[in-house]
């Protein structure tokens, strides 16, 4: 949890010996349709779904910090600030109704959201994002931290920059991009997938829908795709200066190896699968042979 480590170090340096600890614990009833909006500088935010139509916010902080929890229109907002001096890292535990949409953002913030069944947005500069559950639009973005999504459905837009993205057990539409990280996708049932990275690898284990569109593109990394023998897809390969290989027989066009740009059809060819690397290796495998 890089965001939390940084926040704790920062807090220690800035506050050692000058502030006392205080507890914040408040519960607010919320009508359906209310969303949670959290904006913090540093620390950790853990949001868990519970079976009540109310929200509980707990935090341990310095007495010099001020926590503000209020209702603003259709939103419950959580903010914090230091009354004097530099801002501190604060850890929050927040319980929300499962139906509540959650939006959390911060600079040095680790974010964990568990069990909700609504839209989720989480964004941080330095910190990990881990979301389990969620349905609808899921936007998770970290510049320096890992983005992990589990057991979710809907439309996911995931972005990291310096770290990886992992998705396990997702149904819906998926967009994932990073610069230097790798993207690992497991147990995916999606009709539309677009994955891009520049310096990382891409690996896929999942079902290809007959009418789906899938695009995996990396610059220097590899693309590892497991393809069931019953898949119906037109596969478009562009390897630029890279390499293509398949662990099962595929008939390639003449001159394919020279041009490194070719297509072939599996089954009826109804789905579209675009695989692209500039300098890496594109590997096709059967599921049982896929790299774990």
């Amino acid at each position: 949890m890089p965001g939390r480590r940084f926040a704790l170090a920062l807090t220690f340096l800035l506050c050692a010996g000058v502030a006392e600890a205080a507890e914040f614990d408040r519960i607010i009833s919320v009508p359906r349709g209310t969303r949670l909006d959290v904006r913090l500088f540093a620390g950790e935010v853990v949001v868990r779904a519970w079976d009540r139509d109310s929200i509980r916010v707990r935090a341990t902080h310095f007495t010099s910090d001020e926590i503000d929890l209020r209702t603003l229109g259709q939103a419950i907002t959580v903010r914090a600030r230091a009354r004097r001096g530099a801002p501190h890292g604060i850890d929050f535990d927040i319980d929300v109704p499962a139906w509540m949409a959650v939006d959390v953002a911060g600079t040095y913030l680790d974010i964990a959201i568990d069990g909700t069944t609504a839209n989720v947005a989480a964004e941080t500069v330095r910190g990990d994002i881990h979301v389990k559950g969620g349905a609808g639009v899921l936007r998770l973005k970290s510049i320096d931290g890992e983005v992990v999504l589990e057991s979710a459905r809907g439309r996911a837009e995931l972005s990291s920059t310096n770290d990886g993205i992992r998705v396990t057990g997702f149904t819906g539409e998926l967009i994932a991009d990073t610069v230097n990280g790798s993207v690992k996708l497991r147990a995916i049932q999606a009709t539309s997938v677009e994955v891009g990275t520049f310096g990382g690898d891409i690996s896929w284990e999942g079902a290809f829908s007959d009418d789906g569109r899938y695009r995996f593109a990396t610059h220097t990394g590899g693309v590892d795709v497991s393809l069931d023998s019953r898949v119906n897809a037109t596969v478009n390969v562009r390897a630029f200066e890279g390499v293509f290989r398949a662990a099962f027989p595929v008939k390639l066009p003449d001159e394919a190896s020279r041009h490194r740009r070719f297509s072939f059809v599996l089954g009826s060819g109804s789905a579209r699968l675009d695989l692209e690397t500039f300098g890496g290796t594109i590997s096709l495998r059967r599921p049982q042979l896929a790299a774990r």
Binding site: F41, V125, R261
Partner: protein
């Protein structure tokens, strides 16, 4: 080899040649295929039309040099908004969010990106073949070869955004280092694409990748600016 469920086609299953036009235009086809496609073009109006449009795009792209000066100077507007005094600080309890604060400053940069994206879309729509061929197979040929935004304007915007991020992250050189590392990775990718484009100037896919990398770099800096904060706390 399972030859029953795998077969090779040129891409578009209705017209196997349409997917090879880009390679034909690039001069990438072997002599035999080149002769075959020329014979096909003599009798196929649809492919001839697509080839004509591809040639137009390449010609337009060649006219729009990467180092061409901007047709309109947008920088003063960007510069004024970006040069406000900066202080490292978290977000305030009340008032507009920093994301909202960042919007005016980045408006001009966003306009650039939006214009570029719109151009990509418009050109792409124009080049989409009217046939019933599945879009699956047609993309490599019909992908637009959009112009690259004027370098000077782009680089100035990137430099200013970079300066803002550095100013706001003085307490955390690690994040600055991370940003620079990733910007360097994007620069490397762009350099590779430009190098490849110099050998294959008509390659729409390469050009699209180049623009994608440039957009990603700008977007990374914009996000860093939006997520780090300014003003009091």
């Amino acid at each position: 080899m399972n030859r029953e469920d795998t077969r090779v086609e040129g891409g578009c299953r209705e017209d196997p040649w349409v997917d090879r036009l880009s390679e034909y235009l690039d001069g990438d086809l072997p002599a035999r295929e080149r002769l075959e496609i020329e014979a096909h073009l003599a009798g196929c109006a649809a492919c001839t039309a697509v080839l004509r449009e591809l040639r137009d795009v390449v010609a337009r792209a060649d006219r729009m040099r990467l180092d061409s000066p901007p047709t309109r100077d947008l920088w003063p507007g960007v510069s004024v908004r970006l040069r406000r005094p900066l202080r490292l600080a978290p977000w305030p309890l009340s008032g507009a969010s920093p994301l909202r604060w960042a919007v005016p400053r980045l408006a001009a940069a966003a306009v650039l990106v939006a214009c570029c994206a719109a151009l990509v879309w418009v050109v792409g729509e124009r080049l989409r073949p009217a046939s019933t061929a599945p879009p699956v197979a047609s993309a490599p040929v019909v992908a637009p070869a959009p112009p690259v935004p004027a370098d000077r304007e782009y680089e100035t915007t990137v430099a200013e955004l970079r300066r803002v991020v550095h100013a706001r992250l003085t307490l955390d050189p690690h994040v600055v280092e991370v940003l620079e590392k990733n910007l360097a990775a994007l620069d490397l990718a762009m350099s590779d694409y430009q190098d490849a484009l110099s050998r294959q100037p008509g390659d729409a896919q390469l050009r699209s990748r180049l623009i994608g990398a440039r957009d990603r770099k700008l977007e990374l800096l914009r996000r860093a600016v939006a997520l780090t904060t300014e003003g009091g706390n």
